[in-house]
Amino acid sequence: MVEPELIKAAQAGDREALVTLLRDIEQQVYRTAYYLLNHEQDALDASQEALIRIYTKINSYEEKAQFRTWVQRIVTNICIDKFRRKRPSVSIDEHDLVFHSSADVETEVLSAYAAEDIREAIGKLPDHHRTVVVLRYLQDFSYNEIAESLNLPLNTVKSYLFRARQQLQFLLHDYQKGGVRG
């Protein structure tokens, strides 16, 4: 959690404090970008863009919201924009699977998928579903924090998250079965 004093100092014009603030949030910014964009270089670019925007817009942050939700809003917006003109996502079928299978496929609900499988699967979700999942699991945001960050109603957040998990299950479960994605 970022020190409130640091934020105040940064907004008061203390440039050094502002840079320190950016260093404090650098990782959380990158992490979100990485999982949203599913591509390291894109994530590095988007993160830098986000940090610069946070720097220039620092004075538009108001205490009513949590600082981290404000930060995440900025990075998710940039990523979603970037995304729109982005590379096609890799089809699951083309991916090289790593099976941690057990003999009984039917009863094996989920094995420990390699993280990249999950990442790929997340990458196939629609923008908003993906964003909600990333904020929930990579940033440990609560429903409310997600709602604040994305400026969405609480019920919409839940709806996106639940739906995303169903889709992920389906995608990953399919993998497990070795089935061809329909």
Partner: protein
């Protein structure tokens, strides 16, 4: 409870959003429903996998990477913005509460910071022993040169004397720029005409010498022709030498009087006098120990006219109101004086 409702509860369950009562209801249902039991297990497993996704880190410091760009940027001041009703992607926190006071405060704070820096620098500079830079001949020339414009100046100016030194942009900025050369100084003045108070209340620079700082607010040219002056030549703000009120004339400082104002720069061994024409388009230069006059275009410092090199002194420099004629007196080393004038039309110097 049906399975659909159960599903909803299970989802919330994995997010830790159920209270005790809801939890037990859900779990009872799951006990009785194998499909839901399977679903719960998948859901739980998935959620666990998601939670274990690696917390990736950037392979290099992003802030370090953007620092150069940040150097060039300044944070925008706070603005009020209307709140959007519907969701959607707003880049910043929706919050109509404006921070209007903060906005102005930041600007003023910054401005006062600049001024303060200038004041401090100015004070430091004026405590330097400038005295040794000046000797008698220079003082004479200075005195003469100053007297002349004062005679020509509107009376209001003379009376404004010491006060008018205050609102000079030059003082604070000049101080700030000290050591970076006259050229930079003049450019700085042109850019930032913020007045400073304190620069004028500085110590007497030179006893009896009182070289007023060239404080034409935005008329000071960049004298590229006179680089020989060198970086030590910074115009020190404010004469503040009470012993010689004429020297502290507001000619230096009041922007509206830059027309015939002269200014004196000192270099280590030369005294340069400059006068800008009323319209500011040209500036005349003389050097105290030569009888030569040069005229340059103020905007780019390009040379318009240069008289023959000769010895002696030039005094009584005066521009006509339309800036097309410059009159002056050349006194040669024998003491003979000639009244001369330069005309823009002919670009020649002739005797009056």
């Amino acid at each position: 409870m049906n399975c659909q409702e159960g599903m909803e509860l299970m989802q919330r369950y994995v997010d830790g959003d159920l209270n005790e009562q809801e939890s037990s209801r859900m779990l009872s249902h799951v006990d009785t429903c194998p499909d839901c039991a399977a679903m719960l297990e998948r859901l739980t497993r998935l959620s666990s996998e998601l939670a274990q996704l690696p917390r990736v880190l950037p392979r290099y410091s992003l802030v370090d990477a953007i620092l150069p760009e940040l150097e060039l940027l300044t944070p925008e001041p706070a603005v009020s913005r209307p709140q959007e009703e519907h969701g959607g992607t707003q880049s910043d926190v929706p919050g109509p509460r404006s921070r209007r006071p903060a906005r102005n405060t930041k600007l003023y704070r910054r401005l006062s910071g600049i001024i303060a820096a200038g004041i401090v620098a100015g004070v430091i500079l004026t405590t330097q022993p400038w005295g040794q830079l000046f000797n008698k001949p220079q003082q004479e020339a200075a005195g003469l040169a100053l007297d002349t414009p004062s005679a020509n100046m509107p009376s209001a100016q003379a009376s404004s004397s010491t006060e008018s030194l205050s609102p000079t942009s030059a003082d604070g900025i000049g101080g700030e720029e000290a050591g970076t050369g006259f050229k930079d100084f003049s450019q700085k003045i042109a850019q930032d005409p913020s007045p400073t108070e304190k620069g004028t209340a500085t110590e007497p620079r030179v006893s009896g010498g009182s070289e007023p700082a060239p404080a034409q607010a935005d008329r000071i040219p960049t004298p590229r022709k006179f680089n020989a002056i060198g970086p030590t030549d910074s115009p020190v703000p404010a004469p503040a030498d009470k012993a010689d009120p004429s020297a502290t004339m507001g000619i230096m400082t009041d922007p509206s009087f830059t027309s015939n104002s002269g200014s004196i720069n000192s270099s280590n061994d030369q005294l340069l006098v400059q006068f800008a024409s009323p319209d500011g388009s040209k500036t005349a230069y003389t050097q105290a120990d030569t009888g030569a006059v040069s005229i340059v275009n103020t905007s780019d410092g390009s040379l318009v006219f240069q008289s023959e090199p000769r010895t002696g002194t030039i005094t009584d420099l005066k521009w006509s109101d339309d800036g097309k004629t410059l009159t002056y007196t050349w006194t040669n080393t024998s003491g003979q004086a000639k009244a001369l004038s330069w005309s823009a039309e002919s670009n020649k110097e002739t005797e009056r």
